[in-house]
């Protein structure tokens, strides 16, 4: 009985299959789709949709039309709806095709586009993921996923997907790579613009990212868009006026003016600049220092710049004992800085010639009056160039003449200086090395000194402050007085925490420690700490 039942079942099944085959055969007849095919080729999508609707109608009246065929008609209709930009119609059709388990290679991609245009972003992303799984237009599918994530405010996800485009093969990514790099720039910008020091981070991260995108294909249709973004930012944040002939950006605005007011506590007030002896007081005092620096850069034919500069500062100690207030002083220091722009190893380089003048007045006689302390003339030639990929290098040769209120202290000094900037992602390292040979009228004070200094500028911490650390070591060889002073070593670590308020205000908390080791305990050996808070305003 069972066998008979099975045979009957098999018989009816085969009948059903035969019916389906017959219907498919009918459908496979060219005449069913011929008109739609022709209309589709002409781009008459609305008419094709009408035709396909009629075909669907006929199929619905036939028995046993395969799900594949029904799915195919729905899929084709979806494509036509998409081409007609009727996205609700497309969504419904693709949905129907999928409900028939019909999913050709590009269905998810087309479906994703319809959902994207209908602002159903999360659903669109799912379809583009499916498209990616099918390896259909991988680069563009990935771009859609990343872009949708960005639109949904999921910047971390967006960043990851945009970055993933970089890993695709050139053939898959060439249409989207530049746009992906630009989008990464946009993400940076969105994050950076929330920060107080946006003007700085825009220059450090956002613009270089856009420049990276631009460099991929400067002549692409997207090139002008990226350039416009860069220029807009440069204008918004006063970053660049124009490019010099070697590609180095000129400053905008061309002027720089900084006013700073510092209040601090010095544990051992000393006054060493321009003196051959260190006038250590062994007394602590609070102090105030006002500092103004201004510079205006004139550009001549975009290869030469000349920048007059002026600096003035005034230091006042609050501990009014003669050993302390004799260090009250002010300094006036104009300078002229020039640069000739050229290239070195096909990269921007500048030949530098500077002249600095300074006159310091100090209460040298402890009369609570400013008297002449010293006057200097300094000449410098140097070269700023790009040798290391990590950042710019500067080499300088400086010659300085000092005229002191103590005639024995008149001196000349020759210095070789080398500076190197190293950008390590979000951290910047500055190296400074110098060798100074000072020759004093009283030869007992002649010295040769070697200085190394490293500054480490760390990324902004928790959106609150930017820390920077520095360590300086100076080894001084009193060449004619080694027996009394021995080889001296000045150890000078410091730390600074900076916080920007609004765009132009900045405050700095500073701590500095100095330890000068010398065999001449009474005059040159000392230790001191300085604690200070500083407020700056940049015009």
């Amino acid at each position: 009985m069972k066998t008979i039942a099975w045979m009957l079942c098999l018989f009816f099944c085969s009948l059903a299959t035969a019916q389906e085959t017959a219907d498919i055969s009918a459908a496979q007849n060219n005449t069913v789709f011929a008109s739609a095919v022709e209309l589709f080729a002409q781009g008459k999508y609305q008419t094709v949709i009408d035709e396909l609707k009629e075909i669907e109608q006929k199929f619905s009246q036939s028995k046993g039309v395969s799900r594949q065929l029904l799915g195919f008609v729905a899929y084709w209709k979806g494509i036509c709806y998409n081409r007609s930009q009727d996205y609700p119609g497309a969504i419904e059709s693709f949905d129907r095709a999928l409900s028939h388990d019909y999913s050709p290679l590009d269905l998810n991609y087309e479906y994703g586009q319809a959902l994207f245009a209908s602002e159903k972003l999360a659903e669109a992303r799912i379809q583009f993921r499916e498209s990616l799984k099918k390896k259909f237009k991988r680069g563009v599918s990935l771009y859609y996923i990343a872009f949708i994530s960005k639109e949904l405010g999921q910047n971390n996800k967006a960043f990851t997907f945009f970055r993933a485009i970089e890993k695709l093969e050139e053939g898959e990514a060439f249409e989207v790579r530049q746009a992906a790099e630009m989008q990464i720039g946009d993400i940076y910008l969105e994050q950076v613009e929330k920060r107080i020091d946006a003007f700085r981070t825009v220059e450090t991260y956002v613009i270089p990212q856009y420049e990276r995108a631009l460099a991929l294909n400067p002549d692409s249709p997207l090139g002008p868009v990226i350039r416009e973004k860069i220029v807009k930012l440069q204008r918004k944040y006063d970053l660049v006026l124009f490019q010099l002939r070697n590609g180095r950006p000129a400053l905008i605005p061309p002027y720089f003016l900084r006013i700073a007011q510092e209040f601090g506590q010095d544990t051992n007030v000393t006054f060493s600049p321009a003196e051959t002896t260190i006038s250590k007081s062994k007394q602590a005092s609070a102090y105030s220092r006002t500092d103004v620096v201004g510079r205006y850069t004139f550009y001549v034919d975009n290869y030469f710049s000349i920048a007059p500069e002026f600096r003035a500062n005034l230091t006042h100690y609050f501990n009014r004992v003669p050993e302390i207030y004799r260090n009250d002083n002010y300094l006036l220091a104009p300078a002229i800085r020039t640069a000739y722009e050229h290239t070195f190893r096909k990269k921007p380089a500048s030949f530098l010639v500077d002249y600095d003048f300074s006159e310091a007045r100090r209460d040298v006689n402890a009369r609570e009056e400013f008297d002449f302390n010293s006057r200097t003339h300094a000449f410098m030639v140097g070269e700023r160039f790009n040798f290391f990929s990590s950042g710019e290098s500067v080499a300088r040769l400086r010659y300085r003449i000092l005229d002191s209120f103590l005639s024995d202290s008149d001196s000349t000094s020759t210095s070789f200086v080398f500076e190197q900037v190293m950008s390590l992602g979000s951290t910047t390292l500055l190296f400074y090395g110098s060798y100074d040979m000072m020759r004093v009228k009283n030869e007992a004070f002649d010295t040769n000194a070697l200085t190394f200094r490293t500054d480490l500028i760390l990324p902004r911490f928790e959106d609150w402050f930017t820390p920077s650390l520095a360590l300086s070591l100076t080894s001084t060889d009193p060449i004619n007085n080694r027996s009394a002073r021995g080889r001296e070593l000045l150890l000078n670590p410091s730390v600074r925490l900076s916080r920007t308020f609004a765009q132009r205000w900045r405050s700095n908390l500073k701590y500095e420690y100095q330890r000068n080791k010398s065999d001449d305990k009474s005059n040159f050996d000392f230790t001191k700490s300085i604690y200070a808070v500083e407020f700056e305003y940049l015009f």
Binding site: N30, A41, K44, F72, I79, R83, Q85, F116, P221, P224
Partner: protein
């Protein structure tokens, strides 16, 4: 023998109707007049129209003429057309003074002369078209001329001489013009030395125009894209990058439906650069551009347009406008295009809330990453933007046509409701109104 009889019939018929009756009114709507031998009369169905007659249609009116060779010519609303000559022997000449004509020239007529010669010429104020095949539309506002071809082939060129020209002279003019293939359009602007290089028309507009043989006026949106949505193109990518070829569909057609995919028509088309270009005097609008038929203004598909490789045309960006059921171009809500070709954009001043209607130059007719969509170039409030090579002053204080206002408010202390029509030619408020800005103060 049959051929000889036919030819004899044709000669006799044409001789009989020479200088007299060349076309019969088959269908009409509204008011249509004919001016013949200095006499104007109202046309009705089955009336004959003689060679040398001028046919004028009123607003919202239409007439279908069947010519002696069975060619059909549908004359649209507010049109004026003169039949300069029409016979079975020589090429006919039609002068379209203004308005539009949709014509289907019969193949019989086309076969009477050599294949590479025009069988019918249609002149406008600034252009001439030689018809070599069969289904086309031509429209002029008196200064610009636009033509769209649905089937066959036409040649099109600038016309500087407005006198009555012989078919031979007209043939020489169109021969040095542009050749238009099905689905393509070309526009002859008054101030340009040559017509635009033929480009493929927006597929929806082509489809709707082709269907609308009787020039029905239906400004309702066509079925497709009734509501503009978001562009399929994400920011940063081009319409080409996101476009999907029909390869997958074709392979599915072959596999599932066992149907061979159709190959593109071999009759020729501007399959060339779909993005369009401007090279000196040569202007090729992007494939997929819209044409504002009444004025001849070309509206590019916009920066968010997607390339459809199946037709080699761009599908327009959602904010580029859309097509109505009668095939007319419908600009975005804040944009209006006048029949004179002025593009008026309503811009709201965020500070005062005042709406300013500004005249802007047409956007460049190409697709690029920086392409502008119509109306987006209204810019900031202030001095009006001038067309390239045209100073703002060149717009002059000419009277402006009526403007549909985008919101309720007052103009010169007169209340205007939302969507109200502002008659700027109204002498009561003509002073101080220029054709570039109208300030609507919101209520």
């Amino acid at each position: 023998m049959t051929h000889i009889l036919c030819l004899l019939f044709l000669v006799l018929t044409s001789t009989a109707f020479a200088q007299t009756k060349v076309a019969m009114v088959k269908l009409m709507r509204g008011e249509v007049d004919v001016l013949s031998s200095g006499k104007t009369s109202r046309l009705k169905v089955d009336d004959w129209v003689a060679s040398g007659s001028v046919v004028k249609t009123a607003e919202k009116s239409f007439v279908k003429l069947i010519f002696i060779d069975k060619s059909q010519m549908n004359i649209g609303p507010s049109s004026e057309m003169k039949i300069e000559s029409f016979s079975g022997k020589d090429s006919g000449v039609i002068d379209l003074v203004k308005g539009k004509i949709r014509s289907q020239v019969t193949k019989d007529y086309l076969q009477i002369k050599e294949k590479d010669k025009s069988k019918l010429f249609i002149k406008t104020q600034n252009a001439v078209m030689g018809i070599r095949g069969t289904d086309f539309m031509i429209s002029t506002n008196g200064t610009n001329t636009a033509t769209v071809l649905f089937e066959g082939e036409v040649v099109f060129n600038k016309l500087t001489d407005r006198g009555e020209l012989s078919p031979k002279r007209l043939e020489a003019i169109v021969d040095s013009g542009v050749r238009i293939f099905p689905g393509e359009f070309s526009v002859m602007e008054a101030n340009k030395p040559m017509p635009t290089v033929p480009s493929l028309l927006n597929v929806q507009q082509r489809e709707q125009l082709e269907k609308n043989k009787d020039m029905e006026s239906d400004r309702a949106p066509s079925n497709a894209a009734s509501e503009p949505g978001k562009s399929v193109v994400p920011e940063g990518l081009s319409g080409q990058a996101v476009s999907n070829s029909s390869d997958s569909l074709k392979s599915e057609l072959a596999e599932t439906a066992k149907t061979a995919p159709a190959e593109p028509s071999a009759s020729g088309s501007s399959a060339g650069d779909p993005e369009g270009y401007v090279k000196g005097n040569l202007v090729k609008p992007a494939n997929g551009s819209f044409v504002h038929i009444d004025s001849g203004v070309v509206i590019p598909p916009g920066a968010g347009a997607v390339l459809d490789p199946n037709t080699n045309t761009f599908l327009p960006a959602p904010d580029a406008g859309r097509v109505s059921a009668d095939g007319s171009y419908v600009p975005p809500k804040n944009v209006e295009i006048t029949n004179e070709g002025k593009i008026l954009v309503s811009v709201t001043d965020t500070a005062t809330g005042a709406v300013v209607v500004k005249q802007v130059p047409p956007p460049p007719p190409i697709v690029s990453a920086t392409a502008v969509v119509i109306g987006s170039n209204a810019g900031n409030l202030g001095s009006p933007a001038a067309a390239p090579g045209q100073s703002a002053a060149a717009f002059g204080p000419k009277p402006l046509r009526d403007v549909t206002l985008p919101g309720a408010g007052t103009v010169d202390n007169r209340f205007v409701p939302t969507g109200g029509i502002l008659n700027v030619n109204d002498p009561a408020r003509a002073s101080g109104v220029t054709d570039t800005t109208i300030i609507l103060t919101p209520k």
